[in-house]
Amino acid sequence: MIDHATHSVPRRLGLIITFGLAALAMIYLSYSLPRLLPGDFVTAMYSSSHVTLTAEQEAELRAYYTEEPGFGRYLLKLASLDWGYSYAFLTPVSALFFGALPWTLLLLGTAHVISMLVGFVTGVEAAWRRDSHLEKSMVGGMTVLEGVPEISTGVILLVVFALHLGWFPAAGAETAYAEVSLLARLADVGHHLALPLATLVLAYFPGNFLLTRNSMVMVIKQSYITTARAKGLPARRIRYAHAARNALLPLVTRFGLRLAFMITGALVVERIHSYPGLGTLLYNAIQARDLPVIQAVVLASSLMVLTIILGLEMIYRIIDPRIEHAR
Protein backbone atom coordinates (compact mmCIF):
# COMPACT_ATOMS: atom_id res chain seq x y z
CA MET A 1 0.00 0.00 0.00
CA ILE A 2 2.92 2.36 0.68
CA ASP A 3 4.12 1.32 -2.73
CA HIS A 4 0.77 2.43 -4.10
CA ALA A 5 1.08 5.92 -2.65
CA THR A 6 4.61 6.57 -3.90
CA HIS A 7 3.81 5.39 -7.39
CA SER A 8 0.51 7.05 -7.98
CA VAL A 9 1.66 10.65 -7.56
CA PRO A 10 4.20 10.78 -10.42
CA ARG A 11 1.89 8.74 -12.65
CA ARG A 12 -0.92 11.17 -12.15
CA LEU A 13 1.46 14.06 -12.73
CA GLY A 14 2.61 12.44 -15.98
CA LEU A 15 -0.98 12.18 -17.08
CA ILE A 16 -1.63 15.85 -16.38
CA ILE A 17 1.58 16.83 -18.21
CA THR A 18 0.50 14.77 -21.23
CA PHE A 19 -2.88 16.44 -21.42
CA GLY A 20 -1.36 19.84 -20.76
CA LEU A 21 0.98 19.32 -23.72
CA ALA A 22 -1.93 18.22 -25.91
CA ALA A 23 -3.90 21.32 -24.89
CA LEU A 24 -0.92 23.57 -25.58
CA ALA A 25 -0.43 21.97 -29.00
CA MET A 26 -4.06 22.65 -29.88
CA ILE A 27 -3.90 26.25 -28.67
CA TYR A 28 -0.70 26.91 -30.59
CA LEU A 29 -2.11 25.38 -33.77
CA SER A 30 -5.25 27.47 -33.57
CA TYR A 31 -3.06 30.52 -33.02
CA SER A 32 -0.51 29.89 -35.76
CA LEU A 33 -2.53 28.27 -38.57
CA PRO A 34 -4.66 31.34 -39.39
CA ARG A 35 -1.41 33.29 -39.88
CA LEU A 36 -0.55 31.03 -42.82
CA LEU A 37 -3.82 31.84 -44.47
CA PRO A 38 -3.99 33.04 -48.07
CA GLY A 39 -6.86 35.45 -48.68
CA ASP A 40 -8.65 37.21 -45.86
CA PHE A 41 -12.00 38.16 -44.49
CA VAL A 42 -12.06 41.59 -46.15
CA THR A 43 -11.80 40.04 -49.61
CA ALA A 44 -14.34 37.36 -48.72
CA MET A 45 -16.83 39.87 -47.29
CA TYR A 46 -16.65 42.74 -49.77
CA SER A 47 -15.79 41.06 -53.06
CA SER A 48 -19.39 39.98 -53.49
CA SER A 49 -21.08 42.94 -51.77
CA HIS A 50 -22.58 46.04 -53.35
CA VAL A 51 -20.19 48.30 -51.45
CA THR A 52 -17.07 49.17 -53.42
CA LEU A 53 -14.17 50.04 -51.16
CA THR A 54 -11.53 52.61 -51.98
CA ALA A 55 -7.96 51.35 -51.73
CA GLU A 56 -7.49 53.32 -48.54
CA GLN A 57 -10.59 51.88 -46.86
CA GLU A 58 -9.60 48.42 -47.89
CA ALA A 59 -6.12 48.80 -46.44
CA GLU A 60 -7.55 50.07 -43.16
CA LEU A 61 -10.06 47.26 -42.88
CA ARG A 62 -7.37 44.73 -43.68
CA ALA A 63 -5.07 46.21 -41.06
CA TYR A 64 -7.90 45.97 -38.52
CA TYR A 65 -8.78 42.36 -39.25
CA THR A 66 -5.23 41.04 -39.49
CA GLU A 67 -3.95 42.64 -36.32
CA GLU A 68 -1.21 40.55 -34.75
CA PRO A 69 -1.69 40.00 -30.99
CA GLY A 70 1.28 37.72 -30.18
CA PHE A 71 1.00 34.33 -28.50
CA GLY A 72 1.16 35.62 -24.92
CA ARG A 73 -1.71 38.04 -25.35
CA TYR A 74 -3.59 35.39 -27.29
CA LEU A 75 -3.42 33.08 -24.27
CA LEU A 76 -4.53 35.85 -21.94
CA LYS A 77 -7.53 36.76 -24.12
CA LEU A 78 -8.41 33.10 -24.42
CA ALA A 79 -8.52 32.62 -20.66
CA SER A 80 -10.68 35.70 -20.13
CA LEU A 81 -13.24 34.47 -22.71
CA ASP A 82 -12.46 37.50 -24.87
CA TRP A 83 -12.52 35.64 -28.18
CA GLY A 84 -13.10 38.61 -30.41
CA TYR A 85 -16.04 39.36 -32.69
CA SER A 86 -17.56 37.13 -35.31
CA TYR A 87 -16.95 38.60 -38.77
CA ALA A 88 -20.24 37.33 -40.16
CA PHE A 89 -22.65 37.61 -37.21
CA LEU A 90 -21.03 40.77 -35.79
CA THR A 91 -21.53 39.56 -32.22
CA PRO A 92 -18.97 38.43 -29.62
CA VAL A 93 -17.75 34.93 -30.43
CA SER A 94 -18.15 33.81 -26.83
CA ALA A 95 -21.85 34.76 -26.92
CA LEU A 96 -22.36 32.62 -30.03
CA PHE A 97 -20.39 29.78 -28.50
CA PHE A 98 -22.17 29.72 -25.17
CA GLY A 99 -25.51 30.10 -26.93
CA ALA A 100 -24.88 26.93 -28.91
CA LEU A 101 -23.08 24.92 -26.22
CA PRO A 102 -26.14 23.95 -24.08
CA TRP A 103 -27.88 22.34 -27.05
CA THR A 104 -24.83 20.27 -27.96
CA LEU A 105 -24.35 19.22 -24.35
CA LEU A 106 -28.01 18.26 -24.07
CA LEU A 107 -27.89 16.23 -27.29
CA LEU A 108 -24.54 14.53 -26.72
CA GLY A 109 -25.03 13.99 -23.00
CA THR A 110 -28.43 12.36 -23.38
CA ALA A 111 -27.22 10.25 -26.31
CA HIS A 112 -24.22 8.98 -24.36
CA VAL A 113 -26.13 8.24 -21.17
CA ILE A 114 -28.86 6.33 -23.02
CA SER A 115 -26.53 4.38 -25.30
CA MET A 116 -24.16 3.49 -22.44
CA LEU A 117 -26.93 2.30 -20.12
CA VAL A 118 -28.88 0.40 -22.74
CA GLY A 119 -25.76 -0.99 -24.40
CA PHE A 120 -24.37 -2.12 -21.06
CA VAL A 121 -27.51 -3.82 -19.78
CA THR A 122 -28.31 -5.54 -23.08
CA GLY A 123 -24.65 -6.56 -23.45
CA VAL A 124 -24.59 -8.16 -20.00
CA GLU A 125 -27.89 -9.94 -20.55
CA ALA A 126 -26.83 -11.14 -24.01
CA ALA A 127 -23.55 -12.57 -22.72
CA TRP A 128 -25.46 -14.36 -19.97
CA ARG A 129 -27.68 -16.03 -22.59
CA ARG A 130 -24.77 -16.91 -24.83
CA ASP A 131 -25.49 -19.07 -27.92
CA SER A 132 -29.24 -18.61 -27.67
CA HIS A 133 -31.07 -17.53 -30.83
CA LEU A 134 -31.83 -14.15 -29.34
CA GLU A 135 -28.18 -13.50 -28.51
CA LYS A 136 -26.95 -14.60 -31.92
CA SER A 137 -29.38 -12.44 -33.83
CA MET A 138 -28.63 -9.48 -31.56
CA VAL A 139 -24.89 -9.77 -32.16
CA GLY A 140 -25.56 -10.02 -35.90
CA GLY A 141 -27.89 -7.05 -35.94
CA MET A 142 -25.54 -4.90 -33.87
CA THR A 143 -22.58 -5.73 -36.12
CA VAL A 144 -24.57 -4.55 -39.12
CA LEU A 145 -25.68 -1.38 -37.29
CA GLU A 146 -22.06 -0.72 -36.28
CA GLY A 147 -21.31 -0.48 -40.01
CA VAL A 148 -23.89 2.22 -40.72
CA PRO A 149 -22.37 5.69 -40.35
CA GLU A 150 -24.22 8.56 -38.65
CA ILE A 151 -24.66 10.40 -41.95
CA SER A 152 -26.77 7.57 -43.34
CA THR A 153 -28.85 6.95 -40.21
CA GLY A 154 -29.46 10.66 -39.80
CA VAL A 155 -30.57 11.26 -43.36
CA ILE A 156 -32.79 8.17 -43.43
CA LEU A 157 -34.50 9.11 -40.14
CA LEU A 158 -34.95 12.66 -41.40
CA VAL A 159 -36.46 11.63 -44.71
CA VAL A 160 -38.76 9.00 -43.22
CA PHE A 161 -39.96 10.54 -39.96
CA ALA A 162 -39.77 14.27 -40.65
CA LEU A 163 -40.53 14.57 -44.36
CA HIS A 164 -42.72 11.63 -45.29
CA LEU A 165 -44.53 10.86 -42.05
CA GLY A 166 -44.26 14.34 -40.59
CA TRP A 167 -44.11 13.03 -37.02
CA PHE A 168 -41.12 15.10 -35.96
CA PRO A 169 -39.86 18.57 -36.89
CA ALA A 170 -37.06 18.61 -39.49
CA ALA A 171 -35.02 21.44 -37.99
CA GLY A 172 -34.33 23.51 -34.88
CA ALA A 173 -34.36 22.78 -31.18
CA GLU A 174 -37.64 24.42 -30.16
CA THR A 175 -40.57 26.19 -31.82
CA ALA A 176 -39.70 29.83 -32.36
CA TYR A 177 -41.77 32.61 -30.74
CA ALA A 178 -44.02 30.10 -29.00
CA GLU A 179 -45.04 31.47 -25.60
CA VAL A 180 -46.09 28.41 -23.68
CA SER A 181 -45.86 27.00 -20.19
CA LEU A 182 -42.70 25.34 -18.91
CA LEU A 183 -44.10 21.84 -19.32
CA ALA A 184 -45.24 22.44 -22.90
CA ARG A 185 -41.83 23.94 -23.65
CA LEU A 186 -40.04 20.87 -22.29
CA ALA A 187 -42.24 18.64 -24.44
CA ASP A 188 -41.45 20.84 -27.43
CA VAL A 189 -37.68 20.58 -26.79
CA GLY A 190 -38.00 16.82 -26.44
CA HIS A 191 -39.97 16.62 -29.67
CA HIS A 192 -37.22 18.46 -31.55
CA LEU A 193 -34.52 16.43 -29.83
CA ALA A 194 -35.99 13.04 -30.78
CA LEU A 195 -34.54 12.59 -34.28
CA PRO A 196 -30.94 13.74 -33.71
CA LEU A 197 -30.93 11.84 -30.43
CA ALA A 198 -32.16 8.64 -32.09
CA THR A 199 -29.45 9.00 -34.76
CA LEU A 200 -26.68 9.32 -32.20
CA VAL A 201 -28.01 6.53 -29.99
CA LEU A 202 -28.19 4.22 -33.02
CA ALA A 203 -24.60 5.17 -33.79
CA TYR A 204 -23.14 4.66 -30.28
CA PHE A 205 -25.27 1.85 -28.91
CA PRO A 206 -24.08 -1.10 -31.10
CA GLY A 207 -20.43 -0.52 -30.20
CA ASN A 208 -21.25 -0.38 -26.48
CA PHE A 209 -23.32 -3.52 -26.76
CA LEU A 210 -20.67 -5.51 -28.63
CA LEU A 211 -17.87 -4.43 -26.30
CA THR A 212 -19.82 -5.21 -23.13
CA ARG A 213 -20.92 -8.56 -24.49
CA ASN A 214 -17.38 -9.53 -25.54
CA SER A 215 -15.73 -8.60 -22.26
CA MET A 216 -18.61 -10.10 -20.28
CA VAL A 217 -18.17 -13.42 -22.11
CA MET A 218 -14.53 -13.47 -20.97
CA VAL A 219 -15.41 -12.50 -17.40
CA ILE A 220 -18.08 -15.20 -17.03
CA LYS A 221 -15.46 -17.87 -17.66
CA GLN A 222 -13.40 -16.79 -14.63
CA SER A 223 -13.32 -19.11 -11.67
CA TYR A 224 -14.65 -16.53 -9.19
CA ILE A 225 -17.92 -16.59 -11.09
CA THR A 226 -18.07 -20.35 -10.60
CA THR A 227 -17.36 -19.76 -6.92
CA ALA A 228 -20.20 -17.29 -6.69
CA ARG A 229 -22.53 -19.76 -8.36
CA ALA A 230 -21.40 -22.52 -6.01
CA LYS A 231 -22.24 -20.31 -3.06
CA GLY A 232 -25.79 -20.25 -4.38
CA LEU A 233 -25.99 -16.51 -4.97
CA PRO A 234 -28.94 -15.26 -7.02
CA ALA A 235 -28.14 -15.05 -10.75
CA ARG A 236 -28.78 -11.33 -11.02
CA ARG A 237 -26.41 -10.61 -8.17
CA ILE A 238 -23.66 -12.63 -9.86
CA ARG A 239 -24.28 -10.93 -13.15
CA TYR A 240 -24.18 -7.35 -11.94
CA ALA A 241 -22.28 -7.32 -8.64
CA HIS A 242 -19.59 -9.84 -9.56
CA ALA A 243 -19.21 -10.04 -13.32
CA ALA A 244 -20.51 -6.79 -14.82
CA ARG A 245 -18.26 -4.64 -12.67
CA ASN A 246 -15.25 -5.99 -14.52
CA ALA A 247 -16.97 -5.78 -17.88
CA LEU A 248 -17.59 -2.09 -17.23
CA LEU A 249 -13.90 -1.17 -17.44
CA PRO A 250 -13.43 -1.56 -21.22
CA LEU A 251 -16.59 0.47 -21.75
CA VAL A 252 -15.17 3.41 -19.81
CA THR A 253 -11.84 3.16 -21.65
CA ARG A 254 -13.58 3.00 -24.97
CA PHE A 255 -15.57 6.10 -24.17
CA GLY A 256 -12.44 8.15 -23.67
CA LEU A 257 -10.64 6.61 -26.60
CA ARG A 258 -13.48 7.17 -29.03
CA LEU A 259 -14.68 10.54 -27.80
CA ALA A 260 -12.51 12.36 -30.31
CA PHE A 261 -13.95 10.19 -33.06
CA MET A 262 -17.54 10.56 -31.90
CA ILE A 263 -17.39 14.34 -32.14
CA THR A 264 -17.16 13.98 -35.92
CA GLY A 265 -20.48 12.17 -35.94
CA ALA A 266 -22.08 14.73 -33.66
CA LEU A 267 -21.06 17.60 -35.96
CA VAL A 268 -22.57 15.83 -38.95
CA VAL A 269 -25.78 14.89 -37.15
CA GLU A 270 -26.37 18.45 -35.96
CA ARG A 271 -25.94 19.67 -39.51
CA ILE A 272 -28.36 17.07 -40.94
CA HIS A 273 -31.09 17.91 -38.45
CA SER A 274 -30.22 21.64 -38.37
CA TYR A 275 -29.89 21.40 -34.59
CA PRO A 276 -28.61 24.76 -33.31
CA GLY A 277 -25.56 23.40 -31.49
CA LEU A 278 -21.82 23.81 -31.98
CA GLY A 279 -21.81 21.63 -35.11
CA THR A 280 -24.25 23.87 -36.95
CA LEU A 281 -22.45 26.97 -35.70
CA LEU A 282 -19.17 25.53 -37.01
CA TYR A 283 -20.76 24.62 -40.33
CA ASN A 284 -22.15 28.11 -40.83
CA ALA A 285 -18.83 29.63 -39.82
CA ILE A 286 -17.01 27.46 -42.39
CA GLN A 287 -19.42 28.54 -45.11
CA ALA A 288 -18.93 32.23 -44.25
CA ARG A 289 -15.16 31.87 -43.69
CA ASP A 290 -15.79 33.32 -40.24
CA LEU A 291 -12.34 32.71 -38.79
CA PRO A 292 -12.75 33.74 -35.13
CA VAL A 293 -15.79 31.48 -34.78
CA ILE A 294 -14.09 28.48 -36.44
CA GLN A 295 -11.07 28.98 -34.20
CA ALA A 296 -13.11 29.35 -31.04
CA VAL A 297 -15.37 26.36 -31.66
CA VAL A 298 -12.48 24.08 -32.65
CA LEU A 299 -10.29 25.15 -29.77
CA ALA A 300 -12.91 25.26 -27.03
CA SER A 301 -14.43 21.91 -27.94
CA SER A 302 -10.97 20.30 -28.17
CA LEU A 303 -10.12 21.62 -24.73
CA MET A 304 -13.41 20.26 -23.40
CA VAL A 305 -12.66 16.86 -24.91
CA LEU A 306 -9.20 16.88 -23.31
CA THR A 307 -10.70 17.71 -19.93
CA ILE A 308 -13.27 14.92 -20.23
CA ILE A 309 -10.66 12.33 -21.21
CA LEU A 310 -8.40 13.41 -18.35
CA GLY A 311 -11.33 13.12 -15.96
CA LEU A 312 -12.09 9.63 -17.27
CA GLU A 313 -8.49 8.55 -16.81
CA MET A 314 -8.72 9.62 -13.17
CA ILE A 315 -12.05 7.83 -12.69
CA TYR A 316 -10.67 4.74 -14.39
CA ARG A 317 -7.90 4.57 -11.82
CA ILE A 318 -10.50 4.60 -9.08
CA ILE A 319 -12.68 1.88 -10.63
CA ASP A 320 -9.71 -0.33 -11.43
CA PRO A 321 -6.91 -0.02 -8.85
CA ARG A 322 -4.83 -2.57 -10.78
CA ILE A 323 -3.79 0.14 -13.23
CA GLU A 324 -1.73 1.93 -10.59
CA HIS A 325 0.50 -1.11 -10.29
CA ALA A 326 0.58 -2.06 -13.94
CA ARG A 327 3.66 -1.12 -15.90
Binding site: G147, S152, N214, G256, T264
Partner: protein
Protein backbone atom coordinates in the same frame (compact mmCIF):
# COMPACT_ATOMS: atom_id res chain seq x y z
CA UNK B 1 -2.18 -21.31 -36.87
CA UNK B 2 -1.25 -20.18 -40.36
CA UNK B 3 -2.34 -23.49 -41.87
CA UNK B 4 -5.95 -23.12 -40.76
CA UNK B 5 -6.06 -19.40 -41.34
CA UNK B 6 -7.73 -19.55 -44.73
CA UNK B 7 -10.31 -22.12 -43.70
CA UNK B 8 -11.07 -20.35 -40.47
CA UNK B 9 -11.60 -17.04 -42.26
CA UNK B 10 -13.80 -18.64 -44.91
CA UNK B 11 -15.98 -20.16 -42.20
CA UNK B 12 -16.68 -16.77 -40.72
CA UNK B 13 -19.79 -15.31 -42.35
CA UNK B 14 -18.74 -11.75 -41.63
CA UNK B 15 -15.49 -12.26 -43.45
CA UNK B 16 -17.18 -13.81 -46.50
CA UNK B 17 -19.73 -10.99 -46.79
CA UNK B 18 -17.10 -8.32 -46.13
CA UNK B 19 -14.69 -9.84 -48.62
CA UNK B 20 -17.37 -10.10 -51.31
CA UNK B 21 -18.28 -6.44 -50.84
CA UNK B 22 -14.60 -5.49 -50.79
CA UNK B 23 -14.11 -7.16 -54.19
CA UNK B 24 -17.10 -5.21 -55.51
CA UNK B 25 -15.73 -1.91 -54.22
CA UNK B 26 -12.26 -2.74 -55.53
CA UNK B 27 -13.76 -3.25 -58.99
CA UNK B 28 -15.60 0.07 -58.83
CA UNK B 29 -12.48 1.80 -57.58
CA UNK B 30 -10.21 0.36 -60.25
CA UNK B 31 -12.63 0.38 -63.18
CA UNK B 32 -14.67 3.46 -62.18
CA UNK B 33 -13.63 5.83 -65.02
CA UNK B 34 -14.07 3.33 -67.89
CA UNK B 35 -17.39 2.12 -66.42
CA UNK B 36 -18.83 5.61 -66.06
CA UNK B 37 -21.16 6.38 -68.99
CA UNK B 38 -20.51 10.14 -68.84
CA UNK B 39 -17.90 12.61 -67.67
CA UNK B 40 -19.10 13.46 -64.11
CA UNK B 41 -18.08 17.09 -64.59
CA UNK B 42 -20.10 17.46 -67.80
CA UNK B 43 -22.93 19.87 -66.93
CA UNK B 44 -24.79 19.74 -70.24
CA UNK B 45 -27.79 17.56 -69.28
CA UNK B 46 -31.25 18.72 -68.23
CA UNK B 47 -30.96 19.56 -64.47
CA UNK B 48 -32.91 17.49 -61.93
CA UNK B 49 -34.36 14.96 -64.34
CA UNK B 50 -35.51 11.50 -63.19
CA UNK B 51 -33.69 8.30 -64.21
CA UNK B 52 -33.85 7.19 -67.82
CA UNK B 53 -32.17 4.35 -69.71
CA UNK B 54 -29.38 6.75 -70.56
CA UNK B 55 -28.98 8.31 -67.13
CA UNK B 56 -29.39 5.35 -64.78
CA UNK B 57 -29.83 7.51 -61.67
CA UNK B 58 -30.99 10.70 -63.30
CA UNK B 59 -29.30 14.09 -63.40
CA UNK B 60 -28.53 16.40 -60.47
CA UNK B 61 -29.18 20.13 -60.01
CA UNK B 62 -25.97 21.05 -61.84
CA UNK B 63 -26.88 18.96 -64.90
CA UNK B 64 -24.42 16.18 -64.10
CA UNK B 65 -25.02 12.46 -64.49
CA UNK B 66 -25.51 11.03 -60.97
CA UNK B 67 -24.39 7.48 -61.75
CA UNK B 68 -21.05 8.65 -63.16
CA UNK B 69 -20.65 10.95 -60.17
CA UNK B 70 -21.27 8.03 -57.83
CA UNK B 71 -18.57 5.88 -59.45
CA UNK B 72 -15.99 8.66 -59.08
CA UNK B 73 -17.12 9.44 -55.53
CA UNK B 74 -16.68 5.84 -54.33
CA UNK B 75 -13.24 5.86 -55.88
CA UNK B 76 -12.22 9.01 -53.99
CA UNK B 77 -13.54 7.84 -50.64
CA UNK B 78 -11.87 4.42 -50.95
CA UNK B 79 -8.57 5.95 -52.04
CA UNK B 80 -8.61 8.38 -49.13
CA UNK B 81 -9.22 5.57 -46.65
CA UNK B 82 -6.54 3.30 -48.09
CA UNK B 83 -3.85 5.99 -48.30
CA UNK B 84 -4.55 7.25 -44.80
CA UNK B 85 -4.78 3.74 -43.36
CA UNK B 86 -1.57 2.56 -45.04
CA UNK B 87 0.47 5.58 -43.93
CA UNK B 88 -0.90 5.30 -40.38
CA UNK B 89 -0.02 1.60 -40.35
CA UNK B 90 3.52 2.20 -41.63
CA UNK B 91 4.15 4.95 -39.10
CA UNK B 92 2.58 2.93 -36.29
CA UNK B 93 4.60 -0.22 -37.04
CA UNK B 94 7.95 1.59 -37.37
CA UNK B 95 7.45 3.69 -34.26
CA UNK B 96 6.04 0.78 -32.25
CA UNK B 97 8.97 -1.48 -33.18
CA UNK B 98 11.60 1.14 -32.43
CA UNK B 99 9.93 2.06 -29.16
CA UNK B 100 9.53 -1.53 -28.01
CA UNK B 101 12.91 -2.83 -29.16
CA UNK B 102 15.23 -0.01 -28.13
CA UNK B 103 13.35 1.07 -25.01
CA UNK B 104 14.95 3.67 -22.73
CA UNK B 105 14.48 7.33 -23.39
CA UNK B 106 13.56 6.74 -27.07
CA UNK B 107 10.61 4.72 -25.81
CA UNK B 108 9.63 7.37 -23.26
CA UNK B 109 9.72 10.22 -25.78
CA UNK B 110 7.84 8.32 -28.51
CA UNK B 111 5.14 7.00 -26.21
CA UNK B 112 4.63 10.38 -24.56
CA UNK B 113 4.17 11.82 -28.05
CA UNK B 114 1.68 9.05 -28.80
CA UNK B 115 -0.26 9.90 -25.62
CA UNK B 116 -0.44 13.58 -26.57
CA UNK B 117 -1.67 12.75 -30.09
CA UNK B 118 -4.22 10.26 -28.74
CA UNK B 119 -5.81 12.95 -26.62
CA UNK B 120 -6.19 15.47 -29.47
CA UNK B 121 -9.46 15.14 -31.41
CA UNK B 122 -8.33 14.48 -34.99
CA UNK B 123 -11.43 15.98 -36.58
CA UNK B 124 -10.69 19.37 -35.04
CA UNK B 125 -7.20 19.51 -36.55
CA UNK B 126 -8.61 18.41 -39.90
CA UNK B 127 -11.37 21.02 -39.82
CA UNK B 128 -8.92 23.73 -38.86
CA UNK B 129 -6.45 22.89 -41.64
CA UNK B 130 -9.13 22.15 -44.22
CA UNK B 131 -11.08 25.34 -43.50
CA UNK B 132 -8.05 27.58 -43.34
CA UNK B 133 -5.53 26.25 -45.84
CA UNK B 134 -7.71 24.25 -48.26
CA UNK B 135 -5.03 21.58 -48.76
CA UNK B 136 -5.38 18.74 -51.28
CA UNK B 137 -7.09 15.51 -50.14
CA UNK B 138 -3.73 13.72 -50.09
CA UNK B 139 -2.34 16.21 -47.59
CA UNK B 140 -5.45 15.79 -45.41
CA UNK B 141 -5.10 11.99 -45.60
CA UNK B 142 -1.48 12.31 -44.48
CA UNK B 143 -2.39 14.64 -41.61
CA UNK B 144 -5.05 12.17 -40.49
CA UNK B 145 -2.52 9.34 -40.68
CA UNK B 146 -0.15 11.44 -38.58
CA UNK B 147 -2.85 11.59 -35.90
CA UNK B 148 -3.99 7.96 -36.10
CA UNK B 149 -0.76 5.98 -35.68
CA UNK B 150 -0.58 5.97 -31.84
CA UNK B 151 -3.11 3.16 -31.24
CA UNK B 152 -1.30 0.91 -33.74
CA UNK B 153 2.14 1.65 -32.38
CA UNK B 154 0.99 1.00 -28.81
CA UNK B 155 -0.25 -2.44 -29.81
CA UNK B 156 2.96 -3.18 -31.77
CA UNK B 157 5.12 -1.95 -28.88
CA UNK B 158 3.30 -4.14 -26.36
CA UNK B 159 3.74 -7.16 -28.63
CA UNK B 160 7.42 -6.34 -29.22
CA UNK B 161 8.00 -6.20 -25.48
CA UNK B 162 6.60 -9.68 -25.00
CA UNK B 163 8.28 -11.12 -28.12
CA UNK B 164 11.76 -9.86 -27.27
CA UNK B 165 11.88 -12.22 -24.31
CA UNK B 166 11.25 -15.18 -26.64
CA UNK B 167 13.93 -17.85 -27.09
CA UNK B 168 14.29 -17.39 -30.82
CA UNK B 169 14.93 -13.67 -30.44
CA UNK B 170 17.52 -14.35 -27.73
CA UNK B 171 19.14 -16.91 -30.00
CA UNK B 172 19.24 -14.44 -32.87
CA UNK B 173 20.94 -11.95 -30.56
CA UNK B 174 23.44 -14.57 -29.41
CA UNK B 175 24.58 -15.40 -32.91
CA UNK B 176 25.29 -11.72 -33.40
CA UNK B 177 22.18 -10.52 -35.20
CA UNK B 178 22.06 -6.72 -35.29
CA UNK B 179 19.09 -4.63 -34.18
CA UNK B 180 17.72 -4.06 -37.67
CA UNK B 181 18.30 -7.68 -38.68
CA UNK B 182 16.21 -8.92 -35.77
CA UNK B 183 13.51 -6.32 -36.28
CA UNK B 184 13.28 -7.07 -39.99
CA UNK B 185 13.61 -10.85 -39.98
CA UNK B 186 12.04 -11.85 -36.68
CA UNK B 187 9.80 -9.19 -35.23
CA UNK B 188 8.10 -7.75 -38.30
CA UNK B 189 6.82 -10.98 -39.87
CA UNK B 190 5.60 -12.32 -36.56
CA UNK B 191 3.19 -9.48 -35.96
CA UNK B 192 1.40 -9.75 -39.30
CA UNK B 193 -2.12 -10.25 -37.81
CA UNK B 194 -1.75 -6.98 -35.88
CA UNK B 195 -1.11 -5.11 -39.14
CA UNK B 196 -4.29 -6.38 -40.77
CA UNK B 197 -6.43 -5.53 -37.75
CA UNK B 198 -4.88 -2.10 -37.30
CA UNK B 199 -5.13 -1.28 -40.99
CA UNK B 200 -8.81 -2.24 -41.24
CA UNK B 201 -9.68 -0.16 -38.18
CA UNK B 202 -7.80 2.91 -39.42
CA UNK B 203 -9.08 2.66 -43.00
CA UNK B 204 -12.61 2.58 -41.60
CA UNK B 205 -11.99 5.66 -39.49
CA UNK B 206 -10.42 7.50 -42.44
CA UNK B 207 -13.32 6.76 -44.80
CA UNK B 208 -15.79 7.92 -42.17
CA UNK B 209 -13.77 11.11 -41.68
CA UNK B 210 -13.57 11.76 -45.42
CA UNK B 211 -17.33 11.41 -45.82
CA UNK B 212 -17.96 13.70 -42.85
CA UNK B 213 -15.51 16.38 -43.96
CA UNK B 214 -16.96 16.33 -47.48
CA UNK B 215 -20.47 16.49 -46.04
CA UNK B 216 -19.49 19.57 -44.03
CA UNK B 217 -18.16 21.14 -47.25
CA UNK B 218 -14.47 21.15 -46.35
CA UNK B 219 -13.16 19.67 -49.59
CA UNK B 220 -12.70 21.25 -53.00
CA UNK B 221 -16.29 21.36 -54.37
CA UNK B 222 -15.25 19.98 -57.76
CA UNK B 223 -13.92 16.81 -56.16
CA UNK B 224 -16.57 14.06 -56.28
CA UNK B 225 -17.28 12.53 -52.89
CA UNK B 226 -20.07 10.55 -51.27
CA UNK B 227 -20.39 13.04 -48.43
CA UNK B 228 -20.67 15.96 -50.80
CA UNK B 229 -23.31 14.20 -52.93
CA UNK B 230 -25.40 13.58 -49.80
CA UNK B 231 -24.98 17.18 -48.74
CA UNK B 232 -26.14 18.52 -52.14
CA UNK B 233 -29.01 16.06 -52.48
CA UNK B 234 -30.21 17.02 -48.99
CA UNK B 235 -30.72 20.61 -50.18
CA UNK B 236 -33.46 19.35 -52.51
CA UNK B 237 -35.06 16.87 -50.15
CA UNK B 238 -38.48 18.48 -50.60
CA UNK B 239 -38.47 17.40 -54.25
CA UNK B 240 -39.05 13.79 -55.12
CA UNK B 241 -35.37 12.98 -55.60
CA UNK B 242 -34.62 11.01 -52.46
CA UNK B 243 -34.65 7.56 -54.07
CA UNK B 244 -32.47 8.28 -57.11
CA UNK B 245 -30.17 11.00 -55.81
CA UNK B 246 -30.07 10.84 -52.01
CA UNK B 247 -30.29 7.09 -51.47
CA UNK B 248 -27.46 5.85 -53.78
CA UNK B 249 -24.61 7.74 -52.07
CA UNK B 250 -26.06 6.90 -48.65
CA UNK B 251 -26.29 3.22 -49.58
CA UNK B 252 -22.78 3.19 -51.00
CA UNK B 253 -21.30 4.90 -47.96
CA UNK B 254 -23.10 2.53 -45.56
CA UNK B 255 -22.02 -0.53 -47.54
CA UNK B 256 -18.46 0.74 -47.69
CA UNK B 257 -18.22 1.34 -43.95
CA UNK B 258 -19.95 -2.03 -43.34
CA UNK B 259 -17.41 -3.79 -45.56
CA UNK B 260 -14.48 -2.49 -43.57
CA UNK B 261 -16.27 -3.03 -40.26
CA UNK B 262 -17.08 -6.68 -41.07
CA UNK B 263 -13.51 -7.33 -42.21
CA UNK B 264 -12.07 -5.64 -39.13
CA UNK B 265 -14.34 -7.56 -36.74
CA UNK B 266 -13.77 -10.98 -38.33
CA UNK B 267 -10.01 -10.49 -38.69
CA UNK B 268 -9.80 -9.53 -35.06
CA UNK B 269 -11.88 -12.51 -34.03
CA UNK B 270 -10.09 -15.09 -36.16
CA UNK B 271 -6.48 -13.97 -36.24
CA UNK B 272 -5.93 -13.71 -32.55
CA UNK B 273 -8.52 -13.37 -29.84
CA UNK B 274 -5.87 -12.32 -27.36
CA UNK B 275 -4.94 -9.27 -29.39
CA UNK B 276 -8.36 -7.77 -28.89
CA UNK B 277 -7.32 -6.35 -25.55
CA UNK B 278 -4.14 -4.80 -26.89
CA UNK B 279 -5.76 -3.04 -29.79
CA UNK B 280 -8.91 -1.99 -28.04
CA UNK B 281 -7.45 -0.48 -24.93
CA UNK B 282 -5.24 2.39 -24.15
CA UNK B 283 -2.17 1.56 -22.09
CA UNK B 284 -1.43 5.06 -20.89
Amino acid sequence: MHVNLKNELLQDHWFVVGFGLAVLFATVTLLGPPLAPFDPWDMSFAPISPPTAQHLLGVNDGGQDIFSELLYAVRNTVAFGLVSGLVALTLGVIIGLISGWFGGYIDTVLMRLADVLLAIPAIMILILTAALLRPSPVVLALILAGLMWPTISKAIRAQTLSLREGLHIRAAEQIGGGNWYIIRRHLMPEMFPLYLIGFAAKARMAMFMEASLAFLGLFDPSRKSLGMMISYALKYYYMDIWWNWLLPPIGCLSLLIMTVTFLAISLEKVLDPRLKETLGERTA
